[in-house]
Symmetry: C2
């Protein structure tokens, strides 16, 4: 499966320079691939995995499981992301990872990765950078769910997901496959399902997006970005502005 290596390489190139020998080191990594059904857990809170995951296709989400059984979704990850790179250096999972829709995930042994990092520090730095961008996304989520009203909050989430997907060339035109339900949206943004729906139809009637059947259609990017106060600089991607085109 050449594909797995290519996906990782392309991803790292979004923000880091990868030398020839680094390329070779990546291609030397072994892995196993696993297909996940919709909502299937990949790792659970408390697990101590010996491998790290790389998303190959589809999306996965990270979430906290709360005492009352509810979930709080923390972030979503698409092809090229490593949603549990933290297990490289933190033994125990403090949250879970599950598939959003059907997903394909590759597992790479920690031992191989850390040995590679020891031999090729720059490669380790690239993955480290990746985990730091993750942290930046978490920070933005704190602000989003704490300081913005419901409409801005939802707009911002859609902006981020669309922007990240487009940076990795995972959108089809103005369409992003996002097989997520209203309930999950609520558990991401910290709002009740009813409110999710009303906010959604508000964005719809403002002609900014369409969202049904697990697909997000971007109708008016600049308007949505304004509503959501979206400034992509926290994503630390090379390409300055991608979604310039409203078509």
């Amino acid at each position: 499966m050449e594909r797995v290596h290519r996906i990782l390489i392309d991803k790292l190139k979004e923000h880091s320079r990868i030398g020839h020998e680094d390329l070779a080191a990546i291609k030397a990594l072994s892995f196993t691939v696993r297909e996940l059904r919709r909502n299937e857990d990949f790792i659970r809170q408390g697990d101590t995995p010996k491998v790290s995951a790389l998303v190959i296709d589809g999306m996965v989400g990270r979430y906290h499981l709360l005492p009352n059984g509810r979930r709080q979704y923390l972030s979503f990850h698409m092809a090229g992301d490593m949603p549990d790179s933290q297990t490289l250096f933190l033994d125990r999972m403090d949250h879970a990872v599950c598939a959003i829709g059907t997903a394909l995930v590759a597992s790479i042994p920690h031992k191989q990765l850390t040995r590679t990092f020891e031999q090729r520090p720059q490669l380790g730095f690239a993955i480290w950078r990746e985990t730091l961008i993750d942290a930046a996304i978490f920070r933005e989520a704190i602000t989003n769910n704490s300081a913005r009203d419901m409409t801005a909050r939802m707009a911002h989430l859609f902006c981020e997901l669309f922007y990240r997907a487009e940076a990795s060339r995972l959108t089809r035109g103005r369409i992003l496959t996002l097989p997520i339900g209203l309930a999950q949206l609520g558990e991401t943004l910290g709002m009740a399902i009813a409110t999710v729906n009303r906010t959604l139809s508000e964005l719809r009637s403002a002609q900014t997006i369409e969202f049904r059947g697990g697909e997000l259609e971007m109708l008016d990017w600049s308007r949505l970005a304004e509503i959501g106060q979206f400034d992509p600089s926290y994503l630390h991607l090379r390409k300055a502005s991608l979604v310039a085109s409203d078509e």
Copy 2:
């Protein structure tokens, strides 16, 4: 200043094993120390620093500056923390760092750190682990500000700060110096000042804490932890349970 090196070493030992040669490498690091006044900014959003900070004394906070001028505080850091280790690999600051009360901060050049990491990968892994714990704290903040009611939210924050401080031996008995105002508490937890005050007096009258004059007094740890649904495992510290003693 032997002290700076010692603080970093003690901190890393909270979660990582540090070998003899790693110790030597840390002691070889050079730095400059700077004193910050209350509320003084250390780094601003958009800066591209060439050094990373290590808190020596006091506390600093990270915050997003919002378009309307408001702040959203993201996390607080005490002696031993590196509040901007991300600048090692992310050029541009996506948030700001300021002093909470008076603080002492050491600056270590990026070049020295990355060169050390190349020679002693295990040391890099220890700092990496540190940044991953940071991310775990951010994730918990998402959940805290999104899924918990006001009382639990505030209780959880106090639990976390007290627990982390105690792990670094920065508490005096049941007292933690926390020179933070109600307004800032509100900008951390996403609530209005009035609500902050009412929630605070609620916790007070429940005999769990006392909070005045920039000092937090822990009166009933287990009760507060219960109210805040606080489970310290996300902090990934070695010591199992520190605050076992209610006195």
